[in-house]
Symmetry: C2
Subunit: 158 residues, 2 copies
DNA sequence: TATTGTTATACTCTATAACTATA
DNA sequence: TATAGTTATAGAGTATAACAATA
């Protein structure tokens, strides 16, 4: 038994590395979403935007690669298109498909978002000594790589 | 500018420590929820259960301490009560209030849950060298403590 | 017949407002 | 009048099923 008495149950839970990792993930996402909001983006939108930039053309392909449901993608691409970040065109070679193309504004906002995320990460991890911060990055990458098939795609979703 | 070309945007995002921390948090929660499911619990239920065990008696108090909305708490306590883990009693001193008491079954499941979470954490972090695993725990705790007011309560919610 | 994108629908989670009973 | 718990309702976010166009 890992806890000594019921009254210590709260401290036991809150003190767990696993619990703290969940907390930290939420904080990281909350900070990122808040910082990206002024550009009409969330972390999830940004993920989709990088897919459009990375040369995954069809919506089906983007869905398979990211794990985001293809019906969910429709609304997200609507958002991105409304902000002028992407453009949908019928694929002349297969008129069922949409080619999702990054606009100039989309490319620009990707650069901006990278800077925004740099600042968010500095805010979150800046207080750490540089060596500890690098070590954290390596450790976290290692844990995820151990689990993921190829380590390239997200383990859960998005 | 942090990215060299639009086509590298995906690798840039996925390779960020911030992004990986979000991923890792999701993985940790997914594993915990899956392992706890057989006891009718989620991580969030477990958080509420530890509050009942920790001597926070009224639902209002539990809400304030955990950041979980008091209306959300109602349904969660219904779940816990249905599983026989807690019992609600009118406070004789203030008949508006409910005293939320841990049952024997609730105390038992808390012990079991602690073991379950130990296993989940071993599954997730076991592949790391012991020293690196300890260091990760300390680093993550430090980051959260730097942000939280007292460091005792969750920074975001639950 | 299968695939792509879309829409309609439903389900989960959470939050807001309103209600009751007590103080 | 204020507070504790509850219920009703609505809003995100996401998933499932059905549909139209195309292969």
């Amino acid at each position: 038994m890992s806890i000594t008495a019921p009254t210590d149950a709260e401290a036991d839970l809150l003190g767990r590395t696993g619990f703290r990792l969940v907390e930290l993930g939420k904080v990281a996402l909350t900070l990122a979403d808040a910082a990206l909001a002024e550009y009409g983006l969330t972390g999830r939108h940004l993920r989709v935007l990088t897919l459009a930039a990375g040369g995954v053309p069809s919506q089906q392909g983007m869905s398979e690669r990211s794990g985001i449901d293809r019906t969910t993608l429709v609304a997200m691409l609507d958002d991105l298109e409304r902000h002028g970040y992407v453009r949908r065109r019928r694929d002349p070679a297969d008129r069922r498909r949409h080619l999702v193309e990054l606009t100039d504004a989309g490319a620009a906002v990707l650069g901006t978002a990278a800077e925004v995320l740099d600042r968010v990460e500095d805010d979150l991890l800046g207080p750490l000594p540089a060596a500890e911060r690098r070590r954290l990055g390596r450790t976290v990458a290692k844990i995820l790589d151990d689990r993921g098939a190829g380590g390239e795609l997200p383990v859960v979703e998005c």
